[in-house]
Subunit: 353 residues, 2 copies
Amino acid sequence: MKDQRRTTKRATIRDVALMAGISVATVSRVLSHSTYPISKGTRKKVLEAAQELSYSPNLLGRMLKKSDSRDIGVIIPNISNPFYPQLVLGIETEARKHGFSILLCNSFRDVANERKYVELMHQKQIRGIILSSISEEHGFLKDLCARGLKVVGFDQNIEDFHCNRISFDFTAGAVMAMDYLAAMGHQRIAFASSPLVRRSRREIFEGYKLGLSKNNLPFSADLVYIMEIEKEVENGSFEFDSGRNMAEMILASDELPTAVFAVNDVTALGIIHGLMNRNVRVPDDISVMGFDNIEFSAMFNPPLTTINQPAFETGRLACNVLIESLGEEKNDHVSLKLEPSLVVRDSVRNLLG
Amino acid sequence: MKDQRRTTKRATIRDVALMAGISVATVSRVLSHSTYPISKGTRKKVLEAAQELSYSPNLLGRMLKKSDSRDIGVIIPNISNPFYPQLVLGIETEARKHGFSILLCNSFRDVANERKYVELMHQKQIRGIILSSISEEHGFLKDLCARGLKVVGFDQNIEDFHCNRISFDFTAGAVMAMDYLAAMGHQRIAFASSPLVRRSRREIFEGYKLGLSKNNLPFSADLVYIMEIEKEVENGSFEFDSGRNMAEMILASDELPTAVFAVNDVTALGIIHGLMNRNVRVPDDISVMGFDNIEFSAMFNPPLTTINQPAFETGRLACNVLIESLGEEKNDHVSLKLEPSLVVRDSVRNLLG
DNA sequence: TACTCTATAGAAAACGATTACTATCTGCCG
DNA sequence: CGGCAGATAGTAATCGTTTTCTATAGAGTA
């Protein structure tokens, strides 16, 4: 408190040693909570000196020596997609428990970015990465794994190489949605989606078809609406707009569906918007179901019936799996699949009621 | 490509030197793009050896030596508040341009967390932090700044110490909202908010009162609805719910307002929900205006008229200011104030039309 | 007594880079 | 021809830690 005018350089372990009249080795042992036995007196002297100099360890030095960085890399396509904040929150919640921090990078759906970030993290000696990959080719990842990098991937396209994986059963979710719609008496159910360029969308489409046949409903190409253009911008408004356009297309068709199942919530919201714009009421005239259960789907008007994809939980799990695997020398991989669940709100009408 | 079965240890600069038959100094100079002159032949040999060993620098070593970590810390209350993803995106967009990565931490509105994270970042030799602080006391920050840490703070409570600052003119925004409502012929305008425990809310309330008197409208305590309880959970649904409750309260009052101005979009959405629940139409019966312009407000039904707080731009700016200040030795501070803008959508009715 | 342990402490070697010094060899200038 | 500058390369110190050796007592043991 007194000598406030200390030099701008921070005190090192050496300074502490000097002031305490003790070797650096001992100081290090005290300050890094080693199990090495230290006499009461010495410990006290070290602690006092450290306090006096307001010593704070330089983690770079420590990391370099132990070659272990206490943070984990997180690479996602784009934090502004409402799924990811929850995911990140889940990751961090778990990470902090174990004293890890997270290095967050948005790949912006650019393969080069993704790769660059992975490389960078590796150079920073990060030992574990949670990756929502959009790349199709993972040769470089494989290399890094061989060098000891641990990876937890999810959903997307990580198929060509073996790593820990948290996945989500999109297909089952879609089937679940179809089951529900069928149970509500819907027979003509449209499917609305952006282009099927992502695995998740393809799987949901699969589930749509599976769900139809499971419920003895005919599949008709007339009922599937898949936008042709995909803007790689991910600010959400794109899918919302394309939902609105699809609403127009749906209304222009010969025979209206009684329900439309959208590939995700934002699209569903756009569809509802488009329908209401034409004075079609939801769910009274047409029912709409979404997928994801983003936070806002509950606040929408009408509240959206949807399939829950547990983002937060996924993040927690991913982080746990990663931290666990960091401890192991071996390279066997965990593969977990999270299950969807139905969230009933007010956007689907019961035709049988 | 051939000797795939290389040891798991990564090649160091030393290995490269050995293989190339060249000193480490020279290798370092080549590989770190130094300006030191190197002969064509030597350079080639080094590059080849590096390639052969698939050398990749250990950034910890470099950082330690140069005592400069190439990343910046970002501490925010909670990424699930829809304002922050945009902010983070803005920060990263700018950061990547300059080769910085971001270390993201959520303080969860806990002072202890905030402090712990700052300390941790400092220990990691991070030289710049972007901080949305919730702490009231910044003594420790002041200390760190004295030791060379650069900080960019925004909005919140950072008043007791001097640092770079990006702020937003909440009051002007609120006045702007009132101007607009008045121009639309509204005379009885309610104010709805969660408790005024944050600076931003207080300032908006100020603006509400200022705006009233500016437009020659009387202030009436009957028209202000401020929830008493504040849950420190920030998952949004809380403010949404409290909006719904306030809608009930508003409807129970003797003389209805023609418009209600909410302290933020989520609250506004809740209010609309609550009103519609009672078959009050928005904007036909009552107009509602929000504040923030979160992405979702455009997708809502009806699309929300609101005041734009430029989250992305704020992030970019904050990052720029920070990186700029990292270069300087001096400690003079920048203070920027971003201006609000009006976003007209469909939740306010023109009473004069 | 001689020998093994354990507690305690310090010296010095890492960890993987950068860089301040040196040192050599050119070529050029006066 | 002596000297000086620039190009080029190597030696070794350094960044702040951790940790492996050594080393010295004192204590317990046979």
